[in-house]
């Protein structure tokens, strides 16, 4: 089969690789009908996440048709149409039972390695380093889905691939980011990053009833899309984020702040980001936490920081004094996708939202490597790429 394969930093190719096969009784093999490039894939493309190996298959946002099931998978059958969440879950461990699917205790098959790096292992993820199990990803024609009976979301007839594809990651991720804020009708929610997750966080915050939602970015097309979703926008190239947020909140700061940027904050728009980039270049720091610093500084005391943006390692110069003295709450984590999928699928079916609004590019798998660069460089108005294997 064909798949997008990681060969090194900035080196992703469309290769021919062996087809996957059933390995465990709860597995399923899914023929991929649509998949996407996620912003967090760019951290692998740019070489910022440790644990990738030459030959790893990329991708963790995908859906398709079940073509084979294991002997103990009684929930799925051949021909089912499914969206596969990016988190691999057993559905049986303590964390899964509590709904903390992204820290499933059993799905990461490289637990020892992850224990050493993070203290305790997190869930297995598709196509996202060997720290999360080294599972082949979904930017491919076929994927083996471990424990598919627990995770795969069956899709009813009448919905297109593009309407439901993002149930596997970015829609629930934006939703969880907003839910973690426990939004009040009096809240201002400031969202850093108007990429795909930021766009869904904006819409989730609006749906959940925030008084005002503010989106911070500098790419004109992303800001246009954010405004279309109901956000007030701040272009950080043109105005001070701190001053504008103060102005919008009568000097008090936003009650809720969401970091939809993560470890690759823009490197040249602030002194601290330049400092981070220089340290990254000489391998003295792994992440660029400009957004975390800004959120801790600007958030209203006793406010909440929600961090769906991915961080990978060691961060420097965090204003923890501000964080502690202001009594802020921070909620983080990879998304517990299956916790939200039923509710979000219902909202899509009812027409409350059509997630396909975010798609800007549709290409075949063989054009995937080029689209990584287009997406990374935010060229051609690229916000979300969907690949059709």
């Amino acid at each position: 089969m064909r798949a997008l394969v990681w060969h090194g930093k900035h080196d992703i190719r469309c290769d021919t690789v062996p087809d996957p096969a059933i390995e465990q009784p709860r597995d399923a093999i899914v023929k991929v009908t649509a998949c996407a490039i996620c912003g967090s894939d760019l951290h692998l493309y740019d070489g910022f996440m440790p644990g990738m190996k030459n030959g790893d298959i990329m991708g963790h946002e995908f859906m398709g048709e079940v073509v084979e099931v294991g002997s103990e998978n009684h929930r799925l059958k051949k021909g089912d149409r499914v969206v596969v969440p990016f988190t691999i879950i057993c559905g049986e461990c303590d964390q899964c039972k509590r709904g903390y699917f992204s820290v499933c205790e059993r799905s990461n098959r490289n637990k020892e390695m992850a224990d050493k790096v993070f203290g305790h292992a997190t869930a297995g993820l598709f196509g996202y380093t060997h720290l999360t199990g080294g599972y082949p990803g979904g930017q491919a024609e076929y994927v083996r889905v471990p424990c598919a009976d627990a995770s795969a979301v069956k899709i009813p007839d009448g919905l297109t691939d593009e309407q439901v594809l993002f149930l596997g990651d970015i829609f629930p991720t934006g939703w969880q980011a907003a839910v973690q804020c426990d939004i009040e009708p009096t809240d201002t929610v400031a969202i850093w990053g108007a990429g795909p997750v930021g766009q869904f966080a904006i819409r989730s915050a609006v749906l959940l009833g925030a008084k005002q939602v503010v989106a911070i970015d500098h790419v004109p097309e992303r800001l246009d899309m954010a405004r279309a979703g109901g956000a007030i926008t701040i272009n950080f190239d043109e105005e001070s984020v701190l001053e504008r947020l103060k102005e919008l909140t009568h000097g008090k700061g936003p009650e809720k702040c969401i970091d939809a940027v993560g470890l690759e904050a823009h490197a040249t728009r602030s002194i601290d980001s330049l400092y981070d980039r220089a340290k990254q270049a000489v391998m003295l720091e792994t992440d660029r936490p400009h957004v975390l610093r800004e959120m801790m500084y600007v958030c209203r005391p006793a406010g909440t920081l929600s961090v769906p943006g991915v961080y990978g390692g060691l961060l420097d110069k965090i204003p923890f004094g501000a964080f502690m003295n202001k009594g802020l709450t921070m909620r983080t984590g990879q998304t517990h996708v299956n916790r939200w999928t039923d509710d979000l699928l219902r909202r899509i079916q009812e027409g409350q939202i059509d997630p396909s609004f975010v798609i800007t590019h549709r290409v075949g798998l063989e054009e995937g490597p080029g689209m990584y660069k287009t997406f990374r460089d935010k060229q051609d108005g690229c916000i979300k790429v969907v690949l059709r294997p």
Partner: protein
Amino acid sequence: MTCAAPISAGSAETLARGLGWFSIALGALELAAPRTLADTLGMKDREHLIAGYGAREIATGVGILAASDPAPWIWARVGGDVLDFGTLAAGLSTENPRRGSVFVALATVMTVAGLDVFCAQSLAMNRRVAGQRPRQDYSRRSGWPQPPAAMRGAARDFDVPRDMRTPDALRPYPPN
């Protein structure tokens, strides 16, 4: 020097990164062993200058690797090449027993300067091409069936899970 053949943006960035690391390596050498380099070039009175050039090389190297647009830093390298050329040219005097080494160093500086100019121009050309693309209009892509104001609070039926709720003490005071 003009850009003979444009290269892709990715190749230009790779070349820039290579020049960045070269800059840091050369700078480290100049800082670590200025006397040895001065002796090799027959310019014993220029040790401090060579060490200073080393610091400059490291600064531009880090700048190239750190910046999202390395072009200005590559042009800074070109400026440094001119300084290097001028300094080395002064060592071409017939009284310098190490003239041969100076010729080799000059040839190296000219080659690297050519690469620097080529790289800076390629980066600028690629950036110009990217900047000329028309802006896409996403101002109608809301994803909503109705205007945003009508959708505000449409999901208030959602029950925030207990583990993600704000503690009561941190909630806003109820309206009077």
